[in-house]
């Protein structure tokens, strides 16, 4: 099989440039295999984050030929070999070194979200039909590719006002849990900045778990925010009855 050239970013948060590495292809090789080859034979200090190498842990995200991907699931034979294959770190997060980025911001956002709290007196009988839509959200492997491509973060850098698609998916999983007793709609409107999302579906396109982030998580959550905060009839009703409803 032919050799190919990888053009990999080498550097840290202050400076860096790409460097070329020529490697031999093997059948079925994925980009992460190629990076490991470079580590083993040419650049032992090449920083790459990875774990399972099976598309289950979401550690090895990078931008391959300009497209955000899991490198463990990107086949080398799906990429053109006549020119170098460019591998860059995710753009929306600060570089630590080479392909490793500082994703700690995501963990900070996550801490803002109140965990599952069962409604009092629940008997823990749940039908599969009621679980199906939540299980879709719980497939998320936290690769943060959706965060990486979201314009609000990538172009507008609004990390301090916006939670990002990953955490809308997490909130959707909690809000639509058939036994959950909390409402996180206020949090969505304020701290997580759901209103900033203009549903361009970039997140959905890159999701390796094929979660319908925009259609199944973000849009229904936006509807809940509208119901809660902008529906004049409901507002009046609540004012009169003094009740809060959980949608």
């Amino acid at each position: 099989m032919p050799n190919v050239v990888l053009r990999i970013f080498r550097g840290d948060r202050d400076s860096g440039q790409t460097a070329d590495y020529e490697i031999p292809l093997t059948p079925g090789m994925v980009v992460l295999d190629a990076l490991h080859y470079v580590q083993k034979h040419q650049a032992p200090d090449l920083a790459v984050r990875w774990n399972c190498k099976a598309g289950k842990c979401g550690s090895c995200s990078a931008e391959v030929n300009g497209r955000p991907r899991l490198t463990c699931k990107t086949r080398m034979d799906s990429l053109p070999h006549d020119k170098p294959i460019t591998i860059l770190p995710m753009k929306s997060f600060p570089v630590i070194k080479d392909l490793v980025t500082d994703v700690s911001w995501n963990y900070k956002v996550n801490r803002k979200i109140p965990a599952f709290k069962p409604r009092p007196g629940t008997d823990w009988r749940i039908m599969q039909e009621d679980v199906d839509r939540v299980q879709e959200f719980r497939k998320c492997i936290e690769c943060f590719l959706c965060q990486n491509v979201c314009h609000v973060l990538r172009e507008h850098d609004k990390h301090d006002q916006f939670g990002g698609p990953r955490f809308f998916v997490r909130v959707a999983g909690l809000e639509m849990h058939p036994l959950d007793g909390l409402s996180r709609v206020g949090l969505l409107k304020s701290e997580l900045g759901l209103g900033l999302c203009n549903i361009t579906k970039c997140c959905t396109e890159v999701c390796p778990e094929e979660i319908h982030i925009t259609d199944n998580a973000i849009i229904p959550l936006k509807e809940r925010v509208v119901d809660e905060f902008y529906d004049p009839v409901l507002r009046l009703f609540r004012k009169i009855t003094g009740t809060e409803t959980k949608s």
């Binding site: 200090d45 399972c52 599952f116």
Partner: protein
């Protein structure tokens, strides 16, 4: 007492320090927090990426939601039988009794399992389990479990030290007092003072080249415990999962969940024969993992293997929609990585190094090691699984003994004063870490890792023989010498070559322990198969191998396996009678 080292290295103090953030570590953290301890958790990767995330098939717990006849006694018997009666009976009992509560607890913390028709947690069949017992979420049960525990821990206020590797435990007069390690990101050293430490570092798969384990599984916890004076037990029992991917080369060893067989998958050789008939005609594909792994290995060795040296595993007789719903990640894995549509044709599979039954010797009730203040839970600990682990018993192990370790560690911490740190131990740890930068053109860690893996695969694999094991010990001795000559280019900033130098020290220690135990056990039992001793030996059936450190020397001795009380003995006798 003030500590001179505090000024020099970043230092954190906790009542309980947990090393490893997979299922056992997180469950321990949650429990220690519940008991009011101040808890820190250190992990080599980002939070939520530990190997638990890859666990696919399910959590074994006798909830009797599907098969009403199931109860803990049957689960206990299955576990003992699967482990060839070498298990710590008390751990097997506690595990079987407590697993259902641990699963219900996960549900109460937000986990969403697949459901039965009447809305309860659905359970599926698995190898060696008498009843349908595995609570699951498709084939991504581990992800559900780790997210649930992670969210719970974060909500309760756990301090997480991500991408941080511990390279040695600190002791004070034989008691645990803390840990020393480095940040992967910038290579700076960090000191943890702790009254109790829970090891939850998982297994050792990376000492073999064909493995389902990720880079993290280098036996750190076992090596740390051994160095600190704890005992290791049953190190010869390394589980080779029967079904890993065999093609293409880059994914060799990647796990193919046992749930494929649990859902009705059939194994065939290249001649189309359903060969399990010859190895276990009663349980067939759902025989225990040791039996199925040896069967596939033998079929290949005797010339009946597939094109790429494996067996065919076929689930395509089931409706395509069913396969995609029950085994979604298998469907995608094969389609994307191997160009195989498993709803239309068979997968090619072969054995892959998967799990370590042996590990740190612990007390059943508390997960305490022989070193005061040091606890161990999950794969790093030995005892529950004996000579062979049943599928599904790992996730339940993490929950049951993670909880118990967390509880005992918090209780222990309450009785201790502030730990005293010995600066000399820290300086020694720092010096040891820095030597690879001090020389040029020394030993490449990648090269040595490759050679160690080759030795373990060829000489300490599924079938073992004295001559090979002797050679392996010689090899490992040479590797240990060469490991003193490591050199790495680059800086301390996120430098994988440098990290591998430290990981290799752990792998060399556990590889030696595995080989010594394998050499000593002159019989075949469970996952340990000796070509030169192919049968059970009644003497070996009643004793465990115990490894400890005397100076720089690894000492091996045998200790009698504790026998269960009469009422449990009766269950085991019944199981022995029923043995296939």
């Amino acid at each position: 007492m003030t500590n001179p080292v505090n000024d020099k290295y970043e230092t954190h103090e906790h009542d309980v320090l947990i090393i490893g953030a997979g299922g056992a570590g997180l469950r321990a953290a949650v429990e220690s927090l519940t008991y009011g301890a101040n808890v820190g958790i250190v992990c080599k990767s980002l939070l939520g990426k530990a190997h638990t995330v890859m666990a696919e098939g399910g959590i074994a717990a006798a909830m009797a939601n599907v098969d009403a006849a199931d109860d803990w006694r049957t689960h206990f018997g299955d576990t003992m039988r699967g482990g060839k009666f070498l298990n710590n009976w008390r751990m097997a009992q506690i595990h079987a009794q407590e697993a259902p509560d641990r699963v219900r607890e996960l549900e109460q913390w937000g986990a969403l399992f697949d459901r039965t028709d009447d809305g309860r947690i659905l359970q599926r069949a698995f190898g060696g389990h008498t009843f349908k017992r595995l609570c699951h979420v498709g084939d991504r049960t581990g992800l559900e479990m780790i997210r649930t525990l992670q969210d719970r821990g974060v909500q309760m206020g756990i301090d997480v030290y991500m991408e941080c590797t511990v390279t040695r435990l600190l002791t004070d007069n034989g008691r645990v007092s803390g840990a020393f390690g480095y940040w992967r990101e910038n290579g700076r050293f960090v000191v943890f003072k702790a009254k109790s430490i829970v090891l939850a570092t998982g297994g050792i798969g990376k000492a073999w080249p064909i493995t389902s384990n990720s880079w993290e599984y280098t036996g750190d916890g076992m090596a740390l415990a051994y160095a600190a004076g704890a005992e290791l037990m049953d190190m010869e029992f390394v589980q080779f999962h029967p079904t890993g991917m065999v093609w293409p080369p880059g994914v060799q060893g990647l796990l193919v969940t046992e749930a494929v067989r649990g859902e009705g998958g059939i194994l065939r050789n290249k001649n189309g024969e359903r060969f399990m008939e010859r190895y276990d005609s009663k349980r067939m594909e759902l025989s225990t993992r040791d039996v199925v792994a040896r069967a596939i290995y033998t079929e290949v060795k005797e010339g009946r293997g597939t094109e790429h040296g494996g067996a065919y595993l076929d689930i395509s007789h089931k409706p395509a929609e069913y396969v995609k719903r029950k085994l979604p990640s298998m469907y995608h894995q094969f389609l994307e990585l191997a160009d195989v549509d498993i709803t239309k044709g068979p997968m090619e599979v072969g054995p892959t190094c998967h799990y370590m039954m042996g590990g740190v010797r612990v007390e059943a009730e508390t997960a305490a090691t022989t070193v005061p203040g040091l606890f161990a839970a999950g794969e790093v600990a030995a005892g529950l699984h004996g000579a062979n682990r049943l599928g599904g018993n790992s996730l339940s192990d993490l929950l049951v003994f993670g909880r118990r370790a967390g509880m005992a560690a918090a209780e222990h911490a309450k009785q201790q004063g502030s730990p005293v740190i010995d600066a000399a131990q820290i300086e020694e740890g720092a010096r040891e870490m820095l030597t690879p930068f001090e020389r040029k053109d020394g030993q490449s860690p990648y090269e040595l890792h490759g050679e160690l893996q080759e030795t373990m695969q060829d000489l300490v694999g599924i079938f073992r023989v004295e001559r090979d094991l002797d050679q392996a010990l010689l090899d490992i001795g040479h590797f240990k010498e060469r490991a003193k000559e490591f050199s790495v280019p680059g800086s301390r900033m996120f430098n994988p070559g440098w990290h591998l130098c430290a990981d290799l020290q752990s792998m060399l220690t556990v590889s030696e322990a595995v080989t010594r135990c394998a050499l000593a056990r002159k019989e075949s039992r469970g996952a340990h198969s000796r070509i030169d001793f192919p049968n059970y030996d009644p003497t070996w059936g009643k004793q465990n191998n115990i490894i400890s450190r005397r100076g720089n020397e690894m000492v091996l001795q045998q200790r009698p396996t504790a026998q269960p009380p009469p009422e449990l003995q009766k269950l085991i006798e019944a199981e022995k009678g029923a043995k296939a």
